[in-house]
Subunit: 415 residues, 2 copies
């Protein structure tokens, strides 16, 4: 069995060294890791073929096999990702503010790495390279625990990345992969408070829930999105249709896709028939409340459980309301605090929605699909936080840092 | 038994209302609460007498009885505290940055309340008023779970505060107190993820450990401090003695008191005899390693377990080292990431210590006792975070807020 204790110690040790590396050296490391990925592509492809063969043999769904599969293009994309992260601005070391106190102490707040980041994820081997890149850039060591279906691929990717680091004289233990996939190991990993500063789960709702419930290490919850669009009484109906079509169908399995519509009664008569027309183009099933079904009887009937559901599929729910207040109450009750939008031409309603909706990202007249690190201008993201502590919304490099106070004195004692 | 589910719902409901209150209205609420405390002082004193009598009867240590006891002055101090918080700048609503994206979306990051704050604390009834004040000021509802020894006092204080809010037409459920003190209730409280946005333990190491281990709600760990002072080879010895005397003895039971000294071999000969002299004034027991005891044989012998101990008492440990690097390794191994100081006159050593020590506050030539919300200029604090996520060091009002992205569009969809 993996000796997690030893891994933890090595990670802590490596994190001390990484914290002292300058930006230039970290950039070299990332470039060397990217090159090593390309140099090792045959080895990675061979390992991935083992995983894919085993997955097909055990009857994995084709969509999941596709996520698991690597080809030369996908390896190139991982390497390109590392190069892009290398080019981002390094947030570490910035002193955010520094002020003198009346007693002469000069107190500054300095951005520093978190230390050791733990990550638990499912079947995509590209996460191995992506997570490493973001953590390394911010001076953090990382311990990864990927899904068992991708184990051979992850091992090969990690081996290449480490080889790249080592050619630059950098510690390979900046990236460690847990190779045991039994429950006991995972459970122990989630309670390694002495060695892990944060644990980030990436995957489906089940995985995230399990980590939140079992981890004693501080967790950043990411990614489940039951995102709503509210079509206000005053909405431009064509704009509403365009945005809903985009937010529902542009990509179906992502956390910022729209899963539920809330429609003001006075807009419903014009909006709902148009909705059926545009969503029929992609065979989206529309599950609506009774009031909406009186307008478009072809809609199927929504059950109470539909309001809270993240479909990640060609399905959307429709709820009719009589006021903006009712819409806000409904959304705050059923949402997952991810991304919510209002379509309106009313100034006061726009501001009220922005103010009162409890979510990481609240939109006026735009698609929820923009909640994303690149779209927000942060570059690559480690995930989208749906909790309120530490980071909320797309988490870029800064979310992988903390601060410490640095205090310059000349003999001050407290009276 | 307390219906925690109902309390959670009421708190969530109240938090929606509090989030919409403006600064002026919150200020009125805090002032009314302060007045209600003073108006209710007889009721509070009577309730407190019950707690104190019961505590004395069951043989509680005098120091703890003193922390439990209220008198008119202490109630006045609670009321004054609320007035001070009322006067602080309101962080809620500030938009930290707002920038247009190339597609015309205008994306801003707005500071908003966390929502519902849970707090678990021990025997000081003043925490009831302090925690309420900071949470209310930041638009958060709070659910408090105090120690059973202070239950009558806490109930009386909470009743007065609520009465104050209600005279201003504000929701009394902004502040709720859990009156059951059984384990089951506490355990359930720690897993109310649906209703609590954060849980903050305040108290001894045992309480904090129990919350970290059992809570599924995100926790901010506060307060244990095994703080070191490193006396460098180049230290001004008189400055070192003054600072150590202050950091060890100015107040003994606090988390930013110094618990351990690390002394460079070349400074030990001059520093250690002086140390004995100044600490003898307060009968501080000095537990030292062998090398230090060869210089001052009157020191008692330190055991391995002394290095990791937060004494909160008139005891200090002394470790001798041969280099700054050894000092940094020792401190990073045994500290609790709270506050650490170097006494030095060497420029490079000062910067190296600031860079490499892993703690919330790192000092050069000053007492560790300054790690405190007031001393840092933040005003009242809800605790001192010793973890790295969300907030690190003294947590003022901002630590009780989060952000949300507000996005202004005019029909944007994702290509």
């Amino acid at each position: 069995m993996t000796n997690l204790e030893d891994m933890g110690k090595r990670a802590r040790e490596a994190s001390r060294a990484l914290g002292r590396l300058g930006t230039a050296k970290k950039e070299q490391g990332l470039k060397a890791a990217a090159k090593a990925l390309m140099d090792g592509k045959e080895e990675i492809l061979a390992a991935n073929r083992q995983d894919v063969d085993a997955a097909v043999k055990k009857g994995m769904a084709p969509g999941l096999v596709d996520r698991l599969m690597l080809d030369e293009e996908r390896i190139q994309a991982m390497a390109d990702g590392l190069m892009q992260v290398a080019a981002l601005e390094d947030p570490v070391g910035e002193v955010l503010s520094m002020k003198p106190r009346p007693n002469g102490l000069l107190i500054g707040e300095k951005r520093v790495p978190l230390g050791v980041v733990g990550m638990i994820y499912e079947a995509r081997p590209n996460v191995t390279a992506d997570a490493f890149g973001l953590c390394f850039k911010t001076g953090n060591a990382v311990i990864l625990k990927g899904g068992s279906d991708a184990l051979s691929s992850n091992k090969a990717v990690a081996a290449c990345l480490r080889r790249g680091l080592e050619t630059e004289g950098l510690p390979g233990s900046a990236l460690q992969l847990i190779e045991d996939t039994d429950r006991e190991t995972t459970k122990k990993f989630m309670t390694m408070n002495q060695y892990l500063d944060v644990l980030i789960p990436r995957g489906g709702a089940g995985l995230i829930q399990a980590v939140v419930e079992n981890s004693t290490v501080p967790v950043i919850e990411t990614g489940t999105g039951n995102c709503h669009i509210y079509v206000d009484e005053s909405a431009d109906i064509q704009m509403a249709l365009d945005i809903v079509y985009n937010a529902k169908t542009q990509r179906i399995g992502v956390c910022n896709a729209c899963e539920s519509l809330v429609v003001h009664r006075k807009a419903a008569g014009e909006f709902l028939p148009g909705l059926k027309e545009v969503l029929d183009k992609k065979q989206v099933e529309i599950r609506a409340d009774e009031e909406a079904r009186r307008i478009v009887p072809e809609f199927s009937a929504a059950a109470e459980e539909d309001w809270g559901k993240e479909y990640l599929d060609y399905i959307i729910s429709v709820k009719t309301v009589g006021s903006l207040e009712e819409a806000i109450r409904h959304i705050n009750r059923y949402n997952t605090r991810h991304s919510e939008a209002i379509i309106t031409s009313d100034y006061a309603n726009a501001l009220k929605f922005l103010e009162e909706i409890d979510a990481a990202a609240v939109y006026v007249n735009a698609s929820t699909r923009f909640t994303d690190g690149y779209e927000f201008g942060f570059g690559a993201e480690i995930g989208i936080s749906t909790q309120k502590l530490h980071a909320r919304g797309p988490m870029g490099l800064k979310a992988l840092t903390t601060t410490k106070y640095i205090i310059f004195g000349d003999g001050q004692v407290r009276p």
